[in-house]
């Protein structure tokens, strides 16, 4: 499911007048590609993702998913936010099945898949637990499973690991990498857009990293990630990895300096 953005702008109306959140962003994501968006806080990344999800309309420009203009929420999208946003009174399994319920599909048909997904992220024994009984990392794993339950063609993730501590966060990066690479079946490839502030996370997970400048945002760099898949965790310790991290950091600092 390829994604295309052309001259996308978004201006919010607020009490203090209009806020230009996104100013003319164009990029493509190929079918089966995983792309990270890296950029300073408030530069309009979440806004961009909401527009891709069909939850916000662009003020100008054009967004298309799978060749179709985005005209509202689509059922073949999976969403993950910064907070797990689980319903506290539902078990992990019921939370994973929540989209199925909301989409008025038969829950029984997906129960097995829910358990399988939970098992893949190491939560086999926690399926009946409620969120309060899970750690932050576990909750975010449940949210990942929930986003994947209906086998969406594309996955939109807005800083899904930002609220976690550093160690859990690294672990979750690997969980997502594994989940992603497993889910890429030939003929049914998923497309991913991942927002993060972490350069390392972006590099570990993505096929391509897009760098955004200060608000109102424009794209300032488009960096392909050369590491073949499936990737091992060790890739992060290679000199190539470190070199690209340094290059990206340089670009981001350059952006900030220009803006200042």
């Amino acid at each position: 499911m390829a994604i295309a953005l052309r001259g996308v702008r978004k201006t919010y109306k607020s009490d203090h007048g209009p806020v230009e959140a996104v100013a003319g962003v164009s990029f493509d994501v190929a079918d089966g590609e995983f792309v990270s968006l890296l950029g300073p806080s408030g530069c309009g990344k979440s806004t961009l993702l909401m527009m891709l999800a069909g939850l916000e309309a662009p003020s100008a420009g054009h967004l298309a998913v799978g060749g179709q203009p985005v005209a509202g929420p689509r059922r073949d999208a999976g969403l993950v936010f910064q907070d797990a946003t689980l319903l506290p009174w539902l078990s992990a399994r019921e939370n994973v099945l929540f989209p199925i319920r909301m989409m008025r599909l038969r829950e029984e048909a997906y129960r097995e898949r829910a358990d399988r997904l939970l098992a893949t992220v190491g939560l086999r024994d926690f399926a009946s637990r409620r969120p309060a009984q899970l750690s932050g990392g576990m909750r975010q794993r449940v949210a990942l499973c929930r986003a994947l339950i209906h086998d969406p063609a594309f996955l939109l993730m807005d800083e899904p690991f930002s609220a976690l501590d550093a160690i859990t966060r690294d672990e979750m990066g690997l969980v997502l990498l594994d989940l992603w690479e497993r889910s890429q079946e030939p003929g049914r490839r998923k497309t991913g857009v991942f927002i993060t502030h972490s350069i390392r996370e972006a590099l570990l997970l993505s096929d391509r990293v897009l760098v955004m400048g200060r608000r109102p945002s424009v794209l300032t760099a488009d960096v392909p990630v050369p590491f073949p898949r499936p990737r091992a965790p060790g890739v992060q310790d290679t000199p190539e990895f470190t070199a690209i991290v340094a290059r990206l950091r340089g670009m981001i600092e350059h952006n900030l300096r220009d803006a200042a």
Partner: protein, 274 residues
């Protein structure tokens, strides 16, 4: 990660018995201490009344009140029935109508703009002062007391429920939208369950208000009920009977509150945040 050499730390087996003993100790303290304090106050009251030979009209000893409670038991029960039923009826109506208005406020911007400030205004005014109006409008029968207790129980339910219906995290609502959930699904699966703790705190206020409403109504005019009994006993200078009726009223109040608290426990066991 797992290939790191780890030295298992021999954890001491948790002293279960000690933990349980401590828990029981805490429980005993939480229940026992307030009871002991209340008993001490009653004891001091009894002692002082006897010591200074306070006349029973001014202040009967707890033992005298207890004796009256026993002797007037059937009588108190007869009067407790209308009070309880009217309060319960007023409360249930307040709960139903209050929730309904809160839902309207949550879903209609126009209704919210027009009504919510007025609801808050009514919540703030001393509604007791309006009781005589209800009697003027609805007569001296139980209808006026029911309506008045509905009236004062209504506002806390509306405000608490309306607040609760706005408590669902926006990201959760966004998620629902992304999965094209219908407004009814969002209401039943997300917004109302999120509101439940708020709803119950409103209901707990409403149930005590509903009883106050009935008693005030009975004070103004009634032929039966605990409020009526209290006024009647006061006119006869039967202080022990007043206190016995108040004790009966406490039982009614606790019972009704207990029912709501029990419902809360049951519902929040399913829809709570734990």
């Amino acid at each position: 990660m797992s290939d790191l050499a780890t030295t298992p730390v021999a954890a001491a087996p948790p002293a279960r018995a000690a933990v349980r003993r401590a828990a029981i100790g805490q429980g005993a303290l939480r229940i026992g201490l307030p009871l002991a304090f209340a008993a001490a106050v009653l004891g001091a009251w009894e002692l002082l009344v006897r010591l200074y030979a306070v006349p029973e009209v001014i202040l009967p000893a707890p033992s005298a009140v207890a004796a009256r409670l026993v002797s007037a038991w059937p009588f108190l029960l007869t009067h407790a029935v209308p009070t309880t039923l009217e309060a319960l009826g007023g409360f249930l109506l307040a709960a139903a109508l209050g929730t309904a208005l809160a839902v309207l406020l949550a879903y209609s911007r126009l209704a919210r703009l027009a009504l919510y400030p007025n609801v808050v205004f009514f919540q703030l005014i001393p509604k007791i002062a309006l009781a005589p109006l209800f009697i003027v409008w609805l007569g001296i029968g139980s209808t006026s007391r029911l309506a008045f207790s509905l009236f004062i129980g209504f506002f806390p339910v509306v405000i608490a429920t309306a607040t609760g219906l706005a408590a669902a995290p926006p990201e959760m609502l966004r998620l629902c939208r992304a999965y094209s959930a219908s407004p009814w699904q969002v209401f039943t699966a997300v917004r109302f369950p999120y509101a439940l703790p708020f709803v119950f705190s409103g209901l707990k206020i409403a149930v005590t208000f509903a009883i106050i409403g009935v008693i005030v109504g009975e004070f103004i005019t009634a032929q039966a009920g605990l409020g009526y009994l209290i006024l009647f006993a006061a006119s006869q200078a039967e202080t022990a009977l007043i206190l016995a009726a108040i004790a009966a009223l406490c039982v009614v109040g606790l019972a009704l509150y207990g029912l709501v608290a029990l419902a809360e426990r049951l519902v929040l066991a399913r829809y709570g945040h734990r």
